[in-house]
Point group: C2
Chain length 628, copies 2
């Protein structure tokens, strides 16, 4: 049972004649409560920054902007979007409170056909895609340029994080907007002082932000971003500034509204901030819900208003989730890194503010002298690795594949030109988890690394294989390597044949068969491949499933042997069908590929795999009956 | 006949007992003279910033750094490299003056096996690859980190341009270096106020640089970068600063040393600065040479030293250059853009400080209201285009492919996620010209765009086809498009069959044949393909050459027809063999691919094509006799 506040309650509060600041504060807390429930229901989402930014978002939609009045289709509307994007559950709650998002949709956070985990313009009311950090100011100034060119009125408000200001693109955009005097552009920096799970000051200090932004030619204001009176004063002030873009440094509290989620308290408790991402457990959910609920009611009572009516929403009938294993290849990677440090003294580990997700925390704690935290600055990280390598150090560079392979691509190429050996680890590779949405799903990284000379690309499928793969990259390879890792739990632990030796260009046969052969890699897709083989086995069709961790190397003799006598040859990609293992094997075999066609869907693993025709059952049909 | 100053003359001047500032000034002008001759001999190179930075580079190697003394293999050496990289002819001249680069090598600027057009570590004395702007500070701080970690002494000096500070990565690196207090890192900003051919202030003003860099936590000094006394004072001062990285804003004069190349004079003359890149014509070369020569002699006379001895170097026996046509597809593109503006009012053209090279100047002049100059900030440009597209404008985004496809890759993907229609034009695609070197040669862009959903990639081969292609992109396509353009002259104007209609997925048969078929695209490789067919025709082997401008779309019916009955099927890539047209066609045909394997070579077109086995004669051998 989920508990939410329905739109009628928002309308009731909004129509009262209590003072406007208290009313906005009530609305904001009610939106926080709904955000909490939506994230709990989705099983994931970003509460900390949804809460810190909430008062600003409420201010914008309820008081500052014309968009609710004129409508989202009106070209003269004011535009708001968040560049960081992970605060979008909070934005959805505000849009829901205003009736812009329906209750049905609001309850489908991170579900297929529902609301994306990061902003996506296919959801009504969302003005720009984000989640990949640091692009918002550029996009906003594009909109402002267009409005002026098209003689349209309306201002553009872009929310950013503070850690996000480690991304260099922001400074390109600051310079460009100041150069053009784009005064219709306002940036609001949600300065909650915590990025991911650590203080910004610890990761990469931003220094004196007011002087910094002024030196870029912007008009700067600073205010308490959780105080509606301060917001009113500040927005009024910037409204009078002409000929310059404006930035509001809004000092906020991460987790604002729920005492045990609030920074700095929540940070002190464990040393890292716990409520950045993920859903709260049941007890925390109830405690947070109760606190918000009581605060709201307390305020309502003060104003002699009746108590909040909570609506209980049945849990949607959800298919029983597959029971997954407790194996995470990324966890095994983290462990292998620590073990490796006992053997070799010449490598360092680099991270771009994803140490927890990339399972680097143990290494960081045990070997702080070999760990470099560069903050949210993938380009700087990769070029810095180039500098390290030029001095004889072996850098192991970590980030999500979507960011590392793509944003730092030119830097990776330049390192290649220097013939330096560097290991790039693309975490969160592939389609699953699909909840965070398109900005995070990484389905192009093989293609982005593929045309780099002297680059070996490997995706291991289990704990044993990641250790072998890391050993290969560090101790055996003379080339640079890209390791591709799934981030979620392995649906099933992939059992490799006892006689299997991890050898460049050779895979492992997981099921015997001679009716058809299916090459796959990584635990997510190998699971689906094995499922397909089980389904086909019942039809007395024997599918040979091959784990092929080498995505751009092949031992042609082995390939010939493994596929001998089989004419139906398939490749299952955890990637776009373009530029993956299939395109590579096409140089040797006539292959039919399955991959993520089009943009990746957002949703639960099972529904997203099915949506893309990549679940075991659909694969079985595609393989044997040729159904498309 | 080339005229240079040999190493013995440098030694003679260095050994005199004239005052050290005058001596350094003499050495610098002598290096300028040699730079001038090397660039003239190479036929291309960057004089303006080689000259502005010259005094600083001379100061560093002759006075500041220990590297000449301890040697380039000493791990305790001081390190210098230029992040902008195009000032490398000046650096080569300094290294030559010191005997670090031999005369033989110095005379091979931009030749195969010689000195790269942009810095490459395979040339002795070069510490880092550059040319792709904005990576240097990151790399430098990686080196500083490594030196500290490895307990090595030695400082790191990184030269940057001023326009280069439009690249966001610089600010990532500034923040990171300040956060770690990397005091062994010194950045020298060659502040010559002109980027490419226009003033920095016009392109994207950088504002108050001193305040800006201070706000990033750096120690800032400012001095006259063409005054050795000032350099001495400034370097002494920063030597005493601890715990913070340091930046010297060195005010310099672009083109310094040759009166008619000096900014601001040289800019006033034509409105744009003429001496950024390219070799001077014969008259300008002689005039510049004479001025430098006389200045040097004048100084020598003041100090009662004998006149400068000039060495005349025979021109190497060079193969007669192929006579090329006067067609440039990129020029035709620029013209087509202007014509298009008469038909449609809803597009804008974006540029990242390559307007002259991308032939956008006419458009810029005629339609300033539809032209957006974003400066050297590809990420900002692409995300800004995303914002424009969200407001209903069709953006046409221009840069060199090496920068656009790679540095802004994540931004392009995000725009794709918004399903906005945007046209990306990757200029300077392919292997030729090969003089500028690896940072500029673009051989991965098809692979970088290939896995993007809903993206049509086209490379036209002549003036007619670029107009058709642009029309397709703008007026017919519902998807985003990437246009790939060769920048140099077409070796021969590719004649297309009269009956050829530019149709999605269909190419044009250029020569009839049924012994083998060769698909190619773009004027450079089609020329080699046609050459191969002529060579084979003499052997009575009929090669069907097909122009296939559609790099990721195919009409399978047409493909079947065109290749019917032919078993030897080849694709000639102006790209890496991975992720190009060949990999795409492999999905439909069993194809053998020719492409640029490994890193692209630097040199003259003919020698580089041959080096990669992509010239007509080698192709003929590879096609028919299977020679590899």
């Amino acid at each position: 049972m989920m508990k939410i506040i329905s739109q009628s309650e928002f309308a009731r509060v909004w129509q009262t004649d209590i003072n406007s600041y208290s009313k906005l504060s009530l609305i904001a807390d009610m939106c926080r409560l709904n955000t909490l429930s939506a994230v709990k229901r989705a099983g994931s989402g970003h509460l900390g920054s949804s809460f810190s930014a909430m008062d600003i978002v409420v201010w914008l939609y309820y008081r500052e902007m014309n968009v609710v009045k004129v409508g989202f289709d009106n070209p003269h509307r004011d535009i708001y979007f968040s560049s960081k994007g992970h605060d979008v559950p909070g934005l959805y709650a505000v849009l829901f409170s205003l009736g812009i998002i329906s209750e049905e949709l609001f309850l489908k956070l991170r579900c297929l056909g529902g609301l994306y985990g990061h902003p996506d313009v296919s959801n009504f009311g969302i003005e720009a895609n984000s989640g990949s950090l640091g692009m918002g100011i550029s996009k906003g100034r594009g909109m402002v340029w267009a409005k002026k060119h098209l003689k349209l009125s309306g201002r553009v408000f872009v929310m950013t994080g503070d850690g996000e200001f480690q991304e260099g693109q922001n400074y390109e955009a600051l310079q460009g907007a100041a150069h053009l005097g784009q005064s219709q552009l306002t940036v609001i920096l949600d300065h909650n002082k915590v990025q991911s799970d650590k203080p910004v000051k610890e990761i990469t200090d931003l220094g004196d932000l007011e002087t910094k932004f002024s030196s870029f030619g912007w008009h700067v204001e600073r205010c308490d971003g959780n105080d509606f009176r301060a917001l009113e004063r500040t927005f009024a002030k910037i409204g009078r500034i002409k000929h310059r873009p404006k930035i509001i440094i809004a000092d906020t509290i991460k987790g604002k509204g729920v005492s045990f989620m609030e920074h700095p308290y929540a940070l002190k408790e464990k040393g890292t901030y716990k409520w950045h991402a993920g859903a709260p457990d049941d007890a925390s959910y109830e405690a947070a819900f109760d606190e918000l609920f009581q605060n709201i009611n307390c305020k309502l009572t003060q104003f002699s208003l009746s108590q909040l009516v909570i609506k209980e929403v049945c849990d949607e009938e959800q298919p029983a989730q597959k029971k997954v294993s407790d194996e995470y290849v990324v966890k095994a990677y983290g462990k292998a890194l620590v073990e490796l440090a006992a053997e070799r003294d010449d490598f360092v580990v680099l991270d771009a503010d994803l140490a927890a997700d990339c399972r680097l925390r143990d290494f960081e704690k045990k070997f702080p002298e070999k760990f470099i935290e560069v903050g949210i600055a993938e380009q700087d990280m990769v070029s810095m690795a180039g500098g390290l390598a030029r001095q004889g150090i072996l850098p192991i560079v970590n980030s999500f594949g979507a960011f590392l392979a793509s944003r730092a691509n030119e830097q990776i190429y330049t390192n290649t030109c220097e013939k330096s050996k560097i290991i790039y680890v693309c975490h969160y590779a592939g389609l699953i988890p699909a909840g965070p949405g398109r900005s995070h799903q990484c389905l192009r990284d093989i293609s982005l690394f593929g045309a780099l000379p002297d680059m070996t690309i490997i995706q291991p499928c289990n704990t044993w294989e990641i250790r072998e793969a890391l050993d290969y990259c560090v101790n055996q390879s003379h080339q640079s390597c890209m390791l591709r890792l799934n981030i979620g739990p392995s649906p099933r632990i992939i059992e490799l044949p006892k006689e299997y030796i991890f050898t460049k260009g050779r895979g492992a046969v997981l099921t015997k068969g001679d009716d058809a052969i299916l090459f796959a890699y990584g635990p997510v897709m190998l699971y689906e491949a094995l499922l397909a083989s089980e389904i086909l086995a019942k039809e007395r069709i024997k599918l040979k499933v091959v784990n092929m961790p080498w995505l751009n190397s092949v031992d042609t003799k082995w390939l010939k042997e493994v596929s001998a006598g089989i004419t139906k040859i398939f490749v299952l990609e955890d990637h776009s069908p373009v530029g993956g293992l299939g395109d590579f094997l096409l140089n040797y075999l006539a292959v039919k590929k399955f991959g993520v066609v089009g943009l990746p869907a957002c949703g639960r693993p099972d529904e997203v795999l099915k949506f893309h025709g990549l679940d075991g059952a659909t694969l079985a049909a595609r393989i044997y009956w040729g159904r498309e």
